[in-house]
C-alpha cells in the first residue's frame, strides 16, 4: 500500500516540478516542514488554538473550546507563589464584566515549592505532562483576550503590575468593540 502512495506522491511531485521553478519548490517544501510551527504561533485576528489544562487545585480541568460564545481573558503567570494579591485587579475586572459572560482564567506554572494563587477564578496548571493542545508561551506574564468567536483579539506582555494597570482600559475598550452582551439577551 505505501508503495502505491509513494508512486502517487512522485507523480504529484513531477507535475509540481513541471509547473514551478526550483526555488518555488524549495519554498513549498520549507512550508511543509515548518507547517507545525506556523500553526502553533499566536496571531492577532486568528483563532486561538484549543487547549485543555488541569486545575491547579483539586478540580475540573478547563477546555478553551467549551467557552466558545463567551469572551475569555487568559492571564499566564510567570513565577508565582501565592501571588493572589497581585491578581486582585483581574478578579475585580472579571466581576465588573460578569454580566457580559467574561471568563477569566489564570494559568500558573509550578516551580519548586511554589503554591498557586488562591482566587475565586479558575486557576489552571501549566503541566507539560497533562496539558493538551496549545503550549503555554515562554514569554510571560502575558494577557490574552479571546473573543466570542474564539479569535485572539489582544496579546499583552509585561509584568503583572503593568498588566494590572492596563487591564481596566483594555477591557473597557474591548467590550465596547462588541464583546458586551447584546441588550435584551
Amino acid at each position: 500500500m505505501p508503495t502505491i502512495k509513494i508512486i502517487k506522491i512522485e507523480r504529484s511531485m513531477r507535475t509540481l516540478r513541471s509547473c514551478l521553478g526550483y526555488s518555488v519548490q524549495v519554498v513549498i517544501l520549507l512550508c511543509f516542514i515548518f507547517k507545525a510551527s506556523f500553526a502553533s504561533a499566536l496571531t492577532i485576528g486568528q483563532p486561538f488554538p484549543n487547549f485543555t489544562l488541569p486545575s491547579a487545585y483539586v478540580g475540573y480541568g478547563q477546555q478553551l473550546q467549551e467557552q466558545h460564545g463567551k469572551p475569555v481573558m487568559l492571564i499566564v503567570l510567570d513565577r508565582c507563589d501565592r501571588c493572589q494579591k497581585k491578581l486582585v485587579e483581574f478578579q475585580h475586572q472579571n466581576t465588573v464584566y460578569a454580566l457580559d459572560d467574561l471568563e477569566t482564567w489564570i494559568i500558573w506554572t509550578s516551580y519548586k515549592d511554589d503554591l498557586p494563587p488562591e482566587l475565586p477564578l479558575p486557576v489552571l496548571k501549566a503541566d507539560s505532562r497533562l496539558q493538551q493542545g496549545w503550549q503555554v508561551p515562554k514569554k510571560r506574564p502575558a494577557l490574552f483576550l479571546i473573543n466570542r468567536d474564539g479569535i485572539l483579539d489582544h496579546a499583552q506582555y509585561g509584568s503583572l503590575r503593568k498588566l494590572s494597570r492596563q487591564v481596566d482600559s483594555l477591557l473597557s475598550e474591548w467590550m465596547q468593540q462588541g464583546q458586551a452582551r447584546p441588550v435584551g439577551q
Partner: protein
C-alpha cells in the same frame, strides 16, 4: 528612450498574452500541492499507525456517586503515554452514560501490561487515585480497551477495571 518604451510595451504585451497560460500553470500547481499534501498525510497515517498494531482506549463512568474523575493516564512499555484531563461538561456527559474515546496508539502483537491511573475526588472531595495494572494480549487485529470506573455501593467507593471490547 524610445527603444526602452518599445521594449517595455513589447514585454508587457508578451506577459499579457502569457497570462492565461500562467494562470493555468498556477492552478495546476495548487492542485498538485493539495493532492501531495493529502497523499503525504495518508502515507504518514499508514506508516505511523498500521491497522494491525492499532489500540484504542475508551473511558466510561458508571454511577459517579463515590468518585469524580478529573484525569486519566494510560501507559505501557512501548506505548506512547495517553492522557486526558476532564472538564465538568465531560464528566456530566460520562455520568449520563457517554463513553469517551481517550486516544489511540500502537502496540505490537503479544502480551502487554497496561498501567492505568485515574485521578479524581471522592464523595468528601478528597483527592483519590485509582491506580491499577492489567495484562492484555494483542493479536494482529485492532484492539479496543475500555477503562471503566464503577461505583461499589456496598464498599461505598469506586473501582476501576479494564475490559476488552
Amino acid at each position: 528612450m524610445k527603444y526602452i518604451i518599445i521594449a517595455f510595451t513589447f514585454f508587457t504585451f508578451i506577459a499579457q498574452a502569457q497570462q492565461p497560460v500562467l494562470n493555468k500553470d498556477i492552478a495546476a500547481a495548487k492542485k498538485a500541492v493539495i493532492e501531495l499534501n493529502q497523499e503525504l498525510s495518508q502515507l504518514e497515517q499508514e506508516l505511523l499507525s498500521p491497522k494491525g498494531t492499532g489500540v484504542a482506549f475508551y473511558f466510561s463512568l458508571r454511577g459517579g456517586q463515590y468518585f469524580v474523575p478529573l484525569a486519566v493516564e494510560i501507559s505501557a512499555q512501548g506505548l506512547t503515554s495517553i492522557h486526558h484531563v476532564y472538564t465538568e461538561k465531560e464528566v456530566d456527559a460520562l455520568r449520563m452514560g457517554a463513553v469517551h474515546p481517550v486516544g489511540q496508539s500502537n502496540l505490537g502483537a503479544g502480551k502487554h501490561k497496561i498501567n492505568i491511573k485515574v485521578r479524581g475526588v471522592n464523595q468528601q472531595g478528597d483527592p483519590v487515585t485509582l491506580n491499577f495494572e492489567d495484562e492484555v494480549e494483542k493479536s494482529s487485529e485492532p484492539l479496543k480497551l475500555e477503562v471503566s470506573v464503577r461505583d461499589d455501593k456496598n464498599a461505598r467507593k469506586a473501582n476501576a477495571q479494564l475490559a476488552v471490547w
